[in-house]
């Protein structure tokens, strides 16, 4: 006679996320090594003169996140977009363009964070991410 075994139900412990998001930001900073060769093209004389007169410089934008992995804080970043004319993102007219880059960089970082195991529930919406201007 076969005996019937009562199935044992064991509740699995909830899996801890491998990486915990601590802070996320998009950084706009001075680009110390921009490729300005495009300013040497024909029809760019005025722009080149403006650059040489210090009327604008170049910046780079990247998203970065502090995540805690095994108790150690690591900073992960998006690839970044560099060689952006500073006056195209600085003033009010550049707000929309800056926001476009912010979203692009944030989305890239979001994918990276998902890959390393940050729960999507911890990831803010792009418009919620703070922008940090660095010297």
């Amino acid at each position: 006679m076969g005996s019937t075994r009562r199935p044992r139900v064991v509740e699995a412990a909830p899996r801890r996320a491998p990486a915990k998001l601590e802070e996320i930001r998009v950084v706009v900073e001075h680009d110390p090594d921009p490729d300005v060769s495009y300013l040497e093209q024909e029809d760019f004389e005025e722009r080149l003169a403006a650059f040489q007169a210090g009327e604008f410089s170049f910046v780079g934008v990247h998203a970065e996140a502090d995540v805690v992995i095994e108790g150690v804080v690591q900073t992960l970043t998006s690839g970044g977009l560099w060689g952006i004319e500073s006056n195209s993102v600085e003033n009010e007219s550049g707000e929309e363009y800056l926001r476009e880059i912010v979203v692009q960089e944030y989305e890239e970082l979001r994918k990276i964070l998902k890959t390393v195991g940050v729960p999507t529930s911890e990831l803010p919406q792009a418009f919620e991410v703070k922008i940090e201007w660095r010297e």
Partner: protein, 123 residues
């Protein structure tokens, strides 16, 4: 089929970083019997004969096509003229810590270069 990790280790470095936050006076002169030796040690430090060091292991990773660096927290306040065996031992311990971090990211120890392949970098 094994789940493929989206994280690949590209490079490994053992970093010897100058530790300007640590001060040998924090641990010298604890024993009056060694006051003279401790003074000599401090004089040598002030003379730049040795300095304080932090050692950690850094991995360069590729995640979704973007290079990232992760590193072990490091052991700090190490005397720079400690023996090579001790410095290697610390690097080995830090490597183990880094393996734990990488494991959380889905990287198996077999996918990480051995510590012997890591280049030393002074910062």
């Amino acid at each position: 089929m094994a789940k493929k990790s989206g994280v690949q280790v590209q490079k490994l470095q053992i970093v010897h970083a100058r530790d300007d936050h640590s001060d040998p006076r924090d641990y010298l002169f604890q024993d009056p019997d060694y006051k003279e030796e401790d003074q000599e040690r401090l004089d040598a430090f002030n003379n730049g004969d040795w300095y304080m060091l932090g050692i950690f292991v850094r991995a360069e990773l590729v995640v979704n096509g973007t290079i990232q660096t992760v590193q072990s927290p490091g052991i700090w306040a190490i005397e720079s003229d400690s023996g090579e065996d001790y410095l290697n031992e610390v690097a080995g311990e830090e490597y183990e810590v880094l393996l734990g971090i990488l494991k959380e990211l889905g990287v198996k120890p077999s996918q990480v270069p051995p510590i012997g392949d890591a280049k030393q970098r002074d910062e």
